[in-house]
């Protein structure tokens, strides 16, 4: 079963919903090791995506993701705006003009998004950033698809890997982003960007598993 335009759209909508529900939680995480705005940043960006979709939905996955990317870039600001924006922009490029994506294409799309994220932010694994959720998640997706899993179950594995990656940020000392200024004091706190990543990938899992 390929990934459809409609599913991709449902994913963005579900993400908007869970980010809104978790706004305070994300901001509280950011208050501990950052500047207390990650929740409102993500909520603002995804609300704008909903508004843009309401104004007129694109006809292919590439255009849809490009709309999401440009909206995030144009409304989030902070570190999250360029990072998520670049991630979605690279994904959009892979999905250009496609109404649906085969499983392997989905893997390639996420891999490309992750590379874009890393190009922009220059963070490797272990720096206590959203990369620590995205990287194992994309690896898990790829492994699942390579092992012949349905996309939905590979995406479930992706979600679990994102969750584990998110939790793994807790003991890390940050070396990138605002939390890095705290030095050892960043240890013991979960990274807000890794948390929003998990929420977004959980949304994908939920959308793909719903009938």
């Amino acid at each position: 079963m390929p990934l459809t335009l409609q599913q991709t759209r449902a994913w963005l909508e579900r993400s908007a919903q869970v980010l809104s529900e978790n706004q305070q939680h994300l901001t509280d995480l950011d208050a501990a090791i950052g500047d207390a705005d990650h929740g409102s940043n993500m909520d603002r960006g995804f609300c704008k995506i909903l508004a843009a979709l309401a104004a007129g939905a694109p006809a292919d996955i590439g255009a849809l993701l490009k709309l999401a990317a440009m909206t995030l870039i144009g409304s989030v600001g902070g570190a999250a705006g360029p990072l998520y924006g670049t991630l979605f922009l690279r994904m959009a490029a892979e999905a250009a003009d496609k109404a649906e994506l085969a499983d392997a294409e989905v893997v390639g799309m996420f891999r490309s998004g992750l590379l874009g994220l890393q190009d922009r932010g220059n963070a490797g694994p272990g720096a206590k950033t959203m990369v620590d959720a995205w990287l194992p998640a994309v690896d898990a997706l790829q492994a699942g698809v390579a092992a012949g899993q349905e996309l939905a179950s590979a995406a479930h594995g992706m979600r679990l890997a994102a969750e584990a990656g998110m939790r793994a940020t807790i003991p890390m000392q940050a070396t990138k982003g605002r939390a890095s200024y705290l030095g050892e004091r960043s240890i013991g706190h979960q990274d807000p960007g890794a948390t929003s990543t998990f929420l977004i990938l959980r949304a994908l899992d939920e959308v793909l598993r719903s009938p």
Partner: protein
């Protein structure tokens, strides 16, 4: 949360509208996207200076828009850097044909958004230079962190480069001047209280009645260390000594190479302050600390500088780069030479800083 605001989501916009109403002869405010430009922008033939960052640091940056300082400021949401398209629109609004200098504080968000904006502007044929300000000595290394934050030196660079642009420096010379100013400036700050980001509604951190956060940035983040709050003299000495004894600072910075239309890594080294240097001393309130306390801090700073045989020849005391209503103070020392001193003394005419005009 006790603040003089209306709806949280209207705060930045309404504050800008108030600014527009208060200073129509100095600035024009554009909303959605939000940016502030000097009333006579674009100034043809002059390099335009653009800065920006999260809101909540007022008067920085919008209060420093005007003749002799910034051409445009882009305020983001509270503590959130502005977006690339916002920066691009501001850039277009002030570009006078001689290129644009972006003064960028070194935070991952600011850096990335300004980089994307610079790429977009360059694609439109506008000559841009992005110069990073990274002067916060509370951040020791750049290997295990995002590198030093841009704090107090930012405003000094805006003043000095703004004056130089009025004098007719071209973009290359201005970029070099900005780099030199950044290399000459060092800062460190501390907080007595946290601050409350309106969208969150409660203080970013809690501090005990006898505690301070030392080595803070300007976003209400917790600092490097939490310590018992000593007398003001000890605070002042702690900050001053960290600055005066800070060794050479090297790191790799990414700058836009206009000829190659690509980012290029360059190695930068800031030489330490040393006996015999002359400096500008800047004692800054984080927002809620009143002037009388700043002068108590200044008094000790002057004494510590004397002891280190560093001569203060210019001073600046007040709330200029703040974190909302946070109580606390930061100190910046900027090594001066004749060029920088002269440019500092040049006329400036902005809502928050004005002399000789």
């Amino acid at each position: 949360m006790k603040k003089l605001i209306n709806q949280v989501e209207d705060f930045v916009r309404e504050s800008l509208e108030g600014m527009a109403a208060a200073h129509p002869e100095l600035v024009r405010v554009h909303l959605d996207p939000n940016y502030v430009v000097r009333a006579d922008a674009p100034v043809v033939g002059k390099v335009a200076l653009v800065s920006g960052g999260g809101s909540g640091h007022e008067p920085m940056h919008a209060g420093f828009v005007g003749r002799g300082m910034l051409d445009a400021a882009c305020p983001g949401e509270v503590f959130t850097s502005p977006t690339p398209d916002q920066l691009l629109e501001a850039t277009r609004a002030v570009h006078g044909g001689a290129g644009v200098l972006n003064i960028v504080k070194n935070y991952s968000g600011d850096v990335m958004n300004f980089e994307m904006a610079a790429e977009l502007a360059a694609a439109e044929g506008i000559s841009v230079a992005n110069i990073l300000i990274d002067d916060d000595v509370a951040v020791r290394d750049s290997l295990y962190t995002q590198g030093r934050r841009g704090v107090g030196t930012t405003v000094l660079a805006e003043k000095i480069c703004g004056a130089a642009a009025e004098r007719g420096y071209d973009l290359d010379r201005l970029a070099a001047l900005c780099r030199k100013t950044n290399a000459a400036g060092r800062s460190m700050g501390m907080a007595l209280t946290s601050c409350t980001v309106p969208a969150r509604g409660s203080p970013t951190f809690d501090l005990g009645a006898d505690e301070m956060e030392i080595g803070i940035g300007i976003h209400g983040e917790p600092g490097r260390q939490r310590l018992p709050l000593p007398a003001a003299d000890a605070v002042s000495e702690m900050l001053a000594t960290a600055i005066l004894q800070d060794p050479a600072y090297s790191r790799v910075a990414r700058e836009w190479d206009r000829s190659a239309s690509a980012w290029q890594d360059i190695e930068l080294v800031d030489e330490p302050l040393k006996a015999g240097d002359t400096v500008l001393a800047f004692v800054n309130s984080m927002g809620g600390t009143p002037l009388a306390e700043l002068y108590v801090v200044y008094r000790k700073l002057a004494e510590v500088c004397r002891k280190h045989r560093v001569e203060i020849v210019r001073s600046w005391v007040g709330p200029y780069i703040t974190s909302l209503e946070m109580q606390g103070v930061s100190i910046t020392l900027l090594r001066l030479d004749d060029e920088l001193t002269g440019l500092w003394d040049d006329p400036v005419l902005t809502p928050a800083l004005r002399w000789g005009a």
